[in-house]
């Protein structure tokens, strides 16, 4: 057994034990809350940090794949050239076909 300490710092009167027992019993029967879980050691903090990292990662992925793409479309549309050929290049998901470019350029060339 490791070296035991003396207990002179502990008062030994009934009011002290009554008060301590009341406090301890109340805390024990109380439903555990998140703060209790976090204060119970380092493991919950590590778990909470890992959870927060995972949530941030998922959020970042979702934003980059949905909202990010949406913003890209807005930027592409607003920065696209005004002529039909330029718009076809800028706003299309796939490169335009040669025929499409020729038709667009002929249409623009007409008065």
């Amino acid at each position: 057994m490791p070296e035991p300490f003396d207990t002179t710092s502990i008062p030994d009167d009934e009011p002290y034990w009554d008060a301590l027992a009341a406090r301890v019993a109340l805390a024990a029967v109380r439903e555990p809350v998140a703060s209790d879980w976090l204060s119970s050691g380092t493991t919950p903090w590590i778990a909470a940090a890992a959870l927060a990292c995972a949530a941030s990662l998922v959020l970042a992925l979702v934003l980059s794949s949905t909202a990010g793409r949406g913003m890209d479309n807005v930027w592409s549309a607003s920065l696209a050239p005004r002529d039909a050929v330029g718009r076809t290049f800028a706003s299309g998901d796939a490169p335009p076909g040669i025929g499409e470019i020729l038709v667009a350029s002929q249409a623009e060339a007409r008065p």
Binding site: M1, V24, A27, V29
Partner: protein
């Protein structure tokens, strides 16, 4: 303390069925021994109270696991010892860190606690000196039984040793202290 004739086993059964008052009686019955044991293991009043609280919280969460064939104090003190050991290990890690960072932990350890009133009487000094010369378990048992009036049976359950061993420790401690005081006078 209001007396309650119900056994620990009955109180646990009631507590397990949601009777918080019964649990309060159980806590009041054992809080002193649990806190004293925690204080002997941690050396700090606040930590001892925290250990006792965590132990009773653990008891409350595991009421259904209690083996009614066994005495409740043995179960409770086992939990107290386990939690207090973790506190000791954490404190030891902190001390090592302080050492590493150059803090003079010797100074910290030797700083007198403000809540400890040291009696200047010579005889008391002699007794304290003699107490420090006792083996750890002799001192622990002597303090519980002779100073705190804990029964040898409870002291045995608290430290997980036999009652006869407790009596032996107390006997040897008394003899050593008597000799120390006798030599001095």
């Amino acid at each position: 303390m209001a007396s309650d004739d119900r056994s620990d086993s009955e109180l646990i059964a009631r507590s397990a069925s949601g009777d918080d008052t019964a649990f309060g009686v159980l806590v009041r019955r054992h809080i002193r021994a649990a806190t004293l044991l925690a204080a002997q293991m941690t050396g700090d009043r606040d930590e001892a109270e925290d250990v006792a609280q965590n132990a009773f919280t653990a008891v409350h969460r595991r009421l259904s696991e209690f083996d009614h064939a066994r005495p409740f104090p043995a179960w409770l003190f086992g939990i107290v010892r386990h939690i207090a050991e973790r506190v000791r290990a954490r404190n030891a890690r902190r001390m090592r860190l302080w050492h590493r960072w150059g803090t003079r932990s010797d100074d910290l350890a030797s700083t007198p606690r403000p809540d400890v009133h040291l009696d200047a009487a010579r005889e008391l000094e002699v007794v304290y000196h003699a107490m420090r010369a006792l083996s750890p378990m002799q001192r622990a048992c002597f303090e519980l039984v002779a100073v705190r009036n804990v029964t040898p049976a409870d002291a045995a359950a608290m430290h997980g040793i036999s009652e006869s061993t407790v009596r032996q420790h107390v006997f040897r401690a008394r003899r050593a202290l008597r000799a120390a005081v006798g030599d001095e006078s």
